[in-house]
């Protein structure tokens, strides 16, 4: 079960690197829109916002998994300490 969790954590970690692919020029775009003709708000760089959003999703999941993992470790530690105090059980 332990190894299991470690593997999943690793897999998920690798996935963080993936938004790089997402940002490659889209193949599906059908028409060209010159940047200058866009309204002012659209001239804000969109890529950092998109990356931040995607990264945040991953960071949130990671932090949550990490917090569960930490709480689980605490429980396991306490269990071990308890088992030592009462070795006959």
């Amino acid at each position: 079960m332990r190894l299991h969790r470690l593997l999943i954590a690793l897999t998920l970690f690798v996935l963080i690197a993936l938004p790089a692919f997402a940002l490659q020029p889209p193949t599906g775009q059908s028409e060209f829109v010159p940047v200058e003709s866009l309204p002012a708000a659209d001239q804000l760089p969109a890529a950092p916002l998109l990356v931040t959003a995607y990264a945040f999703v991953w960071i949130a999941v990671m932090v949550y998994l990490w917090s569960i993992w930490r709480r689980l470790n605490k429980v396991e530690d306490e269990m071990r300490a308890l088992a030592q105090k009462a070795p006959h059980r």
């Binding site: 993936l18 490659q24 889209p26 599906g28 916002l49 998109l50 308890l82 105090k85």
Partner: protein, 218 residues
Amino acid sequence: MRKAFGPIAVLAGVLLVGAPFMVARAPYESTMGLVQKIFYFHVPSWFAMFTAIGVCGVASLIHLFRNNPRADRIAEAAGEVAVLFGLMGLVTGPLWGRKSWGVWWQWDAKLTIALLLEMTFISGILVRKYGGPGSDKLAAAVGIFGLAVTPFVYEAVNIWRTIHPLTSVVPTLPASMGAPFWFCVAAFMLLMVLLLMVRVNLGKRQAALDELYLAYED
């Protein structure tokens, strides 16, 4: 449930690896451009949040009337997971808004709804933490009432914000965007189930530790 854990983890992994490719392939939305792609993980996070709220409410009801510790653990886990996905939506939403509205927050109906539900389920976590003995019942009440209030929050905020109309921001979905979108929804749902299971497992271990303490006292 434990047997399903492996396959679900793998499936969620595959879908989440695939998601960026699907999103990259999706066409540019002509008025909003690249930032529109936040949509592909913003909206699925709502789907996951609402599902988690449903799970939490139903499990709370079962716990309250059947005094079922397992249902209580599921309710606790679902409450936390709902808060997590709500947080994702609440952060990604304003990032989109910054680009397309020019401001981070403008009391958009959907975001406000999410904020209120987020508050409700955070209060559920707080009551478990600070309520003292018997707080599982109190949290169950929050779960049930949180689920029941969801349609009212939805209606009330929607009406409030459409009486003073603002530009609608959620675009209708052309078919070419549908496939990657539903792909992402599936990925997020599986992620939700995965996190739920991991969290329920933690609850199970905590319960086992409590049992061990009880046995140790003898």
